[in-house]
């Protein structure tokens, strides 16, 4: 009798302990979520808590890695058949690295209906180039802009310039008064690519040129493009005399410590600038066009996506989480907490600077190399960054830059072959 009781008790305990995982099918699932956003962990933890309250039985653990090591860690895990359930992925070519070998689960409008409302341009950054399928939910869009210090502008009675010539004149005034007009430097090649992303579109004609060059109807040797690059040289007198040695961190410091009046960079800086100097009174504007009255172009791009590991054992729960990241609720939290432009449509922006970014985005053109030419090595960005350093240092002409980039891309971009 007592033995039967004991057996019964053990059986009952077993059933009870197995219940959450076995019986309900979706309860008791634990998802891991890998990311490179170490500094945003607090925000993700808060957003995940909201998800967990709505989806009892699913827990999500956010595990960030150092940005510079993330790709290597993720690559090794995925090739070994492991890795997290939810994956923070880059966009465009950086996404293709993982989708082409089949590591990421494809999504569509049926599995994630929320995606239907996303802008097509943003969704382009979530598609595989090979098959055109969507592999993730875009999380943010970034825009390239000009930051300016409002206090310095007011001290010298300066207003936001409306034309390119006004812009050059304004910088001359600042320089004559002993203020460093531009914080930008050339030691980190990618900051020069950003510089070209801000200045050049107005001169090469924005999306029309982008479409033509990505379709192979023209190349980067096109005088429209090299002429636009030549405009960057007009900025050199207004950068620090030793700007070629100025790296990204120094650029940021110059603007944050109010030693430079302007900073050409991306919308991702807003939160950082605020955090570093609460008294910094800054705003943004788009690079001024050649003639007054023209609406300026801004370069923008999909910053990255949330995707699902094709080999996850908890596909159902992972899909639930992925759908959550595509809701307006998530987008709103994302924007409010991180001061970034969520990719989810309909999010209300409270930050005044970010609001202006949204306004400028009405005439946005794809950030040319990132969106169009990062699909295979050597990427357009790698080629352009290095060549721009030579151009800014005075050892190459804009025409040589265009020639070098076109020739390098012809390795994998067939339309450029023989051009």
């Amino acid at each position: 009798m007592s033995r039967r009781w004991l057996v019964g008790l053990i059986a009952l305990l077993l059933v009870v302990s197995l219940y959450p995982a076995g019986a309900s099918g979706q309860g008791g699932v634990k998802l891991t979520f890998w990311s490179w956003r170490v500094e945003d962990k607090w925000a993700y933890d808060r957003m995940i808590r909201v998800f967990q309250q709505k989806n009892p039985g699913i827990t999500v653990e956010f595990v960030p890695f150092k940005q510079t090591e993330y790709n290597t860690i993720l690559s090794s895990a995925l090739t070994a058949g492991k890795g997290p359930d939810i994956i923070h992925l880059r966009a465009y070519g950086g996404l293709e690295t993982f989708t082409a070998p089949g590591f990421i689960a494809a999504l569509d409008f049926e599995t994630v209906p929320e995606l239907k409302t996303f802008s097509r341009t943003i969704l382009e950054g979530a598609r595989g180039r090979k098959d055109g399928k969507i592999y993730g939910v875009p999380f943010a869009s970034q825009t390239l802009v000009l930051y300016y210090n409002k206090k310095i502008f007011a001290q010298h009675n300066l207003a936001v310039p409306k034309t390119w010539d006004e812009f050059l004149g304004l910088m001359k005034t600042l320089k004559d008064k002993g203020v460093l007009p531009l914080a930008n430097g050339g030691k980190d090649g990618w900051t020069l690519e950003v510089l070209s992303g801000v200045i050049a579109p107005n001169f090469y004609g924005g999306t029309a040129f982008f479409d033509a060059v990505t379709r192979g109807q023209t190349s980067f040797k096109d005088p429209t493009y090299t002429g636009a690059l030549a405009r960057l040289l007009e900025l050199r007198p207004y950068m620090h005399p030793n700007f070629m040695g100025v790296d990204y961190a120094t650029m940021q410091q110059l603007f944050i410590s109010e030693q430079a009046a302007m900073f050409i960079g991306g919308s991702w800086e807003i939160g950082f600038f605020r955090a570093q100097n609460r008294n910094l009174d800054f705003d943004i504007f788009a690079a001024p066009p050649l003639r007054a009255g023209q609406t300026p172009w801004v370069s923008s791009f999909n910053d990255g996506n949330y995707g699902i590991n094709a080999k996850t054992p908890s596909m159902e729960a992972a899909l639930k989480f992925i759908r959550f990241t595509a809701t307006r609720e998530f987008g709103q939290m994302f924007t409010d907490l991180l001061a970034q432009n969520s990719a989810v449509p309909g999010v209300v922006i409270k930050d005044p600077v970010l609001k202006r970014v949204q306004e400028l985005n009405r005439k946005a053109t794809p950030y040319i190399m990132l969106v169009g030419f990062r699909w295979q090595a050597p990427t357009g960005s790698t080629l352009l960054q290095s060549a721009l350093q030579a151009m800014m240092a005075g050892t190459k002409t804009p025409e040589q830059v265009g020639e070098e980039v076109t020739r390098g891309l012809s390795v994998w971009f067939d339309p450029f072959r023989g051009r």
């Binding site: 510079t68 993982f98 030793n242 100025v246 120094t250 090595a377 290095s386 350093q389 390795v411």
Partner: protein, 320 residues
Amino acid sequence: MSGSTPSAGGRPRQYLGTRTGRRLWLVFFLAPATVLFAVFITYPILSALAFSVYGWEGIGRRGFIGLHNFVRLFATYPYSGLLVNAFWHNVVVFVVTMLLQNVVALGLALLLARGPWGTRGYRVIFFLPVTLSLIIVGFLWALFLNPIFGIVNKLLISAGLSALARPWLGDPQTALLTLTLINAWRWLGFPTIVFLAGINAVPDEYVEAARIDGASEWAVTRHVIFPLLAPAVTIIVLLTFIGSFNWFELPYVVQGVSGGPNRSTDVLSLFFYRMAFGEVDTGLQDIGIGSAIAVLMFILLVTVSAVAAVFLRRREVELA
């Protein structure tokens, strides 16, 4: 207890005296190092060799393609140009390091060997940077050479030499030389100590005999000390060669993975790293080409080191 110890210990000693026993002990002591070497050196080299003959799509391995990666590396733009550019920079680093670092080290060693006042102190001072981590050295010098906040340009300007103040690490014309000099500053103490030990090992009788024969200071150095210093020179030349062609940490820490500005500080290992692992955010990886570079570097280092070792050894003079 104490009485039984000798007999108890006697048996294994006897056993160990046999050949098999000795071999077992050798295997026992060599095994850990061999296993570590196999896992962390041999296996990666062999897998790089294997990777270099496969096609790659992102991080996914595709079919066998023979030597195609090598053909791409040598014959296609921009890889061929980048390879030559990086290799040439390694050569420059080797030559400049030999000329500046090692010649200065030899001079310092000769001075220190005479035992001037404070010899011990100087020895410590010269050797101190060698003990610093390369990461720290790179970070410190990047700060010193910062064109705006850095101390180097500030000193130049306050000394009235503002014409000389420049973006040392940002100018394609000065960046590589600046990096090589930082490297020499960091390593100077090492060849100095090796040369000093070599000079101190020269028996006093030789020097005295030469002096009695009326040899000048220079003649003693040239005809007595230099020939006997050859083994130290062999070691330093080989280490400088390997160090220059494997050069990675300092350019990586100071200039980043792209070997900027405009590839002016690109060296083979940076080029390899970029191809195998990609440039952060902006460049995609091409594991096939990356592995091909690794294989080339390995072949280059092994062959040249072996040939140089044989060649340099031949010139060494044995102490009678």
